[in-house]
């Protein structure tokens, strides 16, 4: 079983990223459950999205100790630290914040927002860049599956950019 936790600010697309990850895992033949916690506001508060991937039906759908923790904003780092342990691999967006402390077994800096701005003139694709980095690092499944799901969810220009964002993320690892 793998437990993956995403955290960011509402509007960054962490729930979408988690959804794509879980959907990909299901296409890979695994069981997956994806859930989330967020505030009543549609944007601006700390959000958390969770994915559990397993070989059998997932009983408890929330992360207890994350194997991977993707952090896209500073608030989540402190707020959800108790859901990590010494084995957690943390992937954070160092172009958004500088972590105050090291947690888990490894801290990987992916400057996703900066990479998104440089490549697409918008911060919008940072979540998918992070996802590309996660799949490259974790080898949860082949990145081709991730791209297949992206192709189901996006069309035209958005599709091309999201596919490119996956590659940018993978190349950052």
């Amino acid at each position: 079983m793998k437990q993956i936790m995403f955290s960011g600010i509402g509007g960054q697309g962490v729930i979408l990223a988690a959804n794509i990850l879980a959907n990909s895992a299901v296409h890979n033949g695994n069981y997956a459950a994806q859930s989330q916690a967020y505030g009543s506001e549609s944007r601006g508060t700390t959000t958390r999205a969770e994915v559990i991937i397993a070989d059998q039906f997932v009983d408890f759908p929330h992360v207890e100790k994350a194997d991977y923790f993707l952090v896209m904003a500073e608030g989540g780092m402190k707020k959800f630290k108790d859901k990590t342990d010494e084995n957690t691999v943390v992937i954070y967006d160092g172009s958004v914040f500088e972590p105050e402390e090291n947690i888990g077994s490894k801290m990987i800096n992916i400057e996703a927002t900066k990479l998104s701005l440089n490549n697409f003139d918008r911060p919008l694709f940072a979540n998918i860049i992070m996802l590309g980095a996660l799949v490259e690092k974790s080898k949860l499944f082949d990145s081709k599956i991730l791209k297949d799901i992206i192709k189901e969810k996006f069309q035209n220009k958005a599709l091309d950019k999201n596919l490119k964002a996956i590659e940018i993320g993978r190349n950052s690892i």
């Binding site: 879980a22 069981y31 994806q34 039906f57 009983d59 408890f60 759908p61 929330h62 207890e64």
Partner: protein
């Protein structure tokens, strides 16, 4: 042939309802149920149905009662504040014996409470929310896959017994995404009984096996539905005799068919040191706790009513005799613990151990494990 879809709970609810034959949705979107309305607005017209966004929840339930009386399978979806507003007309649907399905995706209450967080605070509201004695059917699944199949069963029971059915979910289940294994061979739908009778002999509340043989409005039969106690003609009769007789019949039509209506899941209840009782999404945490306890040599069992109301009294009495302790795990202040005490606590009032939390999160498996070890 099985088809795997990766769906959100609310989406599975809407798609299952359409598969069940839903033809009318009247609703007022509210977090965390809004996606049920959203998906119905897209899918219903394609299936030959109608979607209407009403001005509020009172109008929403009134609209589905009307649609159902006119012959359509009808549903609304809401959450706590909206469910509160629907209570009066829910009673009307019970009294008029109108087949409707009301989805309530539970969030933190009372009042606006916590819109985006889960709760199990409305289990008793589903049972007793509308005033007066009345039978009710409520179903509460645990997974997105189960949502798809159980919403179909909700429609089937509503149609078969001419009875409003409350379909409970919680925020976690409504917004969780997981696999749904759609197998057409496993799906059965119940269609409303077609009434063919000499119009002169017909009355809307003539019954067969305690279930009224009401024709759909507009099919040429005499028609009257009222919230007052009524006789076979549908017109008011508030004589003492009729009031007692009518409600006795309404109870019989549900409670005499418990074999058909009741549905539970049991895990390890054959050989157990302690029983866990939990419903809906929270039961998944209990299942994981059972596996963790097993590793430590403790045999815990699980009893999970899928049909929550009517409460599975008989089975809980049997299971209660097998164990000395039952831990009732709920995201509320102990609503089911109180219900359990009605059936299993003759000698030992400490037999029911409530594990309750209102932290707007599922109670995690470890806390259940700790509680079991503490009380065993």
């Amino acid at each position: 042939m099985e088809k795997v879809k990766f769906l959100e709970g609310n989406t599975a609810c809407a798609l299952g309802a359409v598969r069940a034959g839903l033809k009318f949705f009247g609703g007022y979107p509210i977090t965390p149920s809004s996606e049920v309305a959203e998906v119905c607005s897209e899918e219903l017209p394609k299936a030959g149905g109608r979607f209407i966004q009403m001005e509020d929840e009172i109008a929403s339930i009134a609209s589905i009662i009307g649609a159902s009386l006119a012959g359509s399978k009808a549903m609304t979806a809401t959450s706590g504040p909206g469910f509160s507003l629907m209570q009066e007309a829910l009673g009307m649907a019970v009294m008029g014996e109108v087949p409707i399905v009301i989805v309530s995706v539970m969030r933190g209450g009372p009042s606006t409470g916590h819109p985006t967080g889960p709760s199990q605070g409305d289990l008793m509201q589903a049972r007793w929310g509308t005033h007066g004695d009345h039978p009710i059917i409520a179903i509460y699944p645990e997974s997105v896959n189960e949502v798809y199949y159980e919403i179909i069963r909700a429609f089937n029971l509503a149609e078969k017994y001419r009875q409003p059915v409350v379909f409970l979910m919680d925020e976690v289940l409504g917004h969780m995404k997981e696999s749904v294994f759609i197998n057409e061979d496993k799906i059965e739908t119940v269609e409303r009984r077609k009434i063919e009778m000499d119009q002169k002999k017909y009355n809307p509340f003539l019954t067969e096996n305690d279930i009224p043989l009401t024709a759909n409005y507009g099919e040429g039969y005499r028609f009257h539905v009222t919230g007052l106690y009524h006789d076979e003609t549908g017109f008011p009769d508030v004589s003492s005799e009729n009031i007692q007789k009518t409600m006795d019949r309404m109870y019989r039509k549900i409670y005499n068919n418990m074999d058909d209506i009741s549905k539970n899941e049991e895990m390890n209840t054959e050989d157990m040191d302690i029983l866990l009782f939990s419903v809906g999404t929270q039961a998944r945490s209990a299942k994981m706790a059972i596996r963790m306890l097993k590793e430590e040599g403790i045999n815990a069992g699980l009893f999970r009513p899928i049909t929550l109301w009517p409460f599975p009294e008989e089975r809980i009495v049997e299971l209660g005799k097998k164990v000395s302790k039952i831990v009732a795990i709920e995201m509320n202040k102990g609503q089911m613990a109180d219900e359990l005490r009605k059936y299993v606590c003759e000698e030992d009032e400490k037999k029911i151990i409530p594990l309750n939390k209102l932290e707007s999160e599922l109670i995690p498996p470890q806390e259940i494990v700790d509680k079991v070890k503490e009380v065993l």
